[in-house]
């Protein structure tokens, strides 16, 4: 019975140590000198983050009539139009992103394939075929950086004039 109580006590103690890892550390300091080596400056902490360098902008699109059309910006920056869209503005820009993290790590980048753009008046357009110039196995370079560009196909129909805007969430994680 005493042995059982002893086991119960030890098990409870173990659970307490699992839940409060700092207590484990405190106990271990009795067994060994703790190391307090500073992380060298410039060493990656393991986080991966990304910055939007340029937003995707179709600038101004001239729509002939009320038919269906599309404006396309490819990740290489090339633009084209289809259907009722007559012209993509000269200041159209491809989106670009800078990822930073641990050098040489493989990463996975997630973007939605389709988003909606909205106008103040409640109009809605669809940005479809969102694509990037990433390779099939993207890696951060030796400096921990990875740049990529993205574009898409903006589909326009009806009497849709006005300014439109939509959000495109992007996440990156280590593979």
């Amino acid at each position: 019975m005493g042995l059982l109580k002893s086991h119960a006590f030890l098990f409870a103690a173990a659970i307490a140590m699992i839940q409060v890892s700092s207590l484990v550390d405190a106990q271990c300091r009795l067994c060994e000198q703790p190391t307090t080596t500073a992380v060298p400056e410039g060493t990656s902490s393991g986080d991966v983050d990304l910055q939007i360098e340029t937003e995707l902008s179709f600038d101004r699109l001239i729509l002939m009539g009320a038919g269906v059309g599309a404006a396309i910006i490819r990740p290489d920056g090339a633009t084209s139009t289809e259907g009722a869209v007559m012209q993509v503005g000269p200041r159209a820009m491809v989106g670009s992103v800078l990822v930073h993290g641990e050098p040489n790590r493989a990463v996975r980048v997630d973007l939605p394939r389709r988003i909606d753009l909205f106008s103040v008046g409640g109009g809605r357009l669809t940005l479809d075929d969102v694509s990037t110039d990433l390779s099939s196995t993207p890696h951060l370079d030796a400096a921990g950086n990875l740049s990529f560009r993205f574009g898409g196909k903006l589909i326009i129909s009806g009497d849709a004039d006005g300014p439109y805007r939509g959000d495109l969430p992007i996440t990156v994680e280590y593979q």
Partner: protein, 185 residues
Amino acid sequence: MLAACRAKCQNSGDQMNRLFAITTATGALLLGSSPASAVSPATQATATAKIFKPLTISSVQNLDFGVIVLTGASFSGEVVTISQTGALTCGSNPGVLLTCSGAPQPAKYKLVGTNDATVTITSPGFNLTGPGTLAFTPSAPATVNLGASGSTTGVTFGIGGSITLASTTPDGVYTGTFQVTADYQ
């Protein structure tokens, strides 16, 4: 560090072995949560576009300085100006060096396009030709807003301008052609 703990504490017996087996497993779990699963917070890029109807510009009326009589005996550098709204300035001393009459009017153009869109207007200088040559400097608005009825009735704007005369300017009729460009801002 955990391995060092276990090495020392194994001397306390089987129960302590079990305890540290658990803590070692815990340590392994803690070590297992390495940065390898780091995920960036979702960052919002934006996509924007401005959709416009085709913009049309058409001439509504021609600019006319009216009749200008060179009344001064000898002068130069007298500027005759007509504003975008049609107000005429007849040199520096009207009625003495120059006399202006007739029905002066500015040029007028009509724009039709997207409601409330702002349009940039450009009109470079050019020469009026006739018995001689007169340099004409247009005065156009930098921008025009199409307003709430820009897609239906559109909006009309004026372009004025100026010429510089001297007592030696050959008399006669002078004409020229505007080049006006309108583009969505």
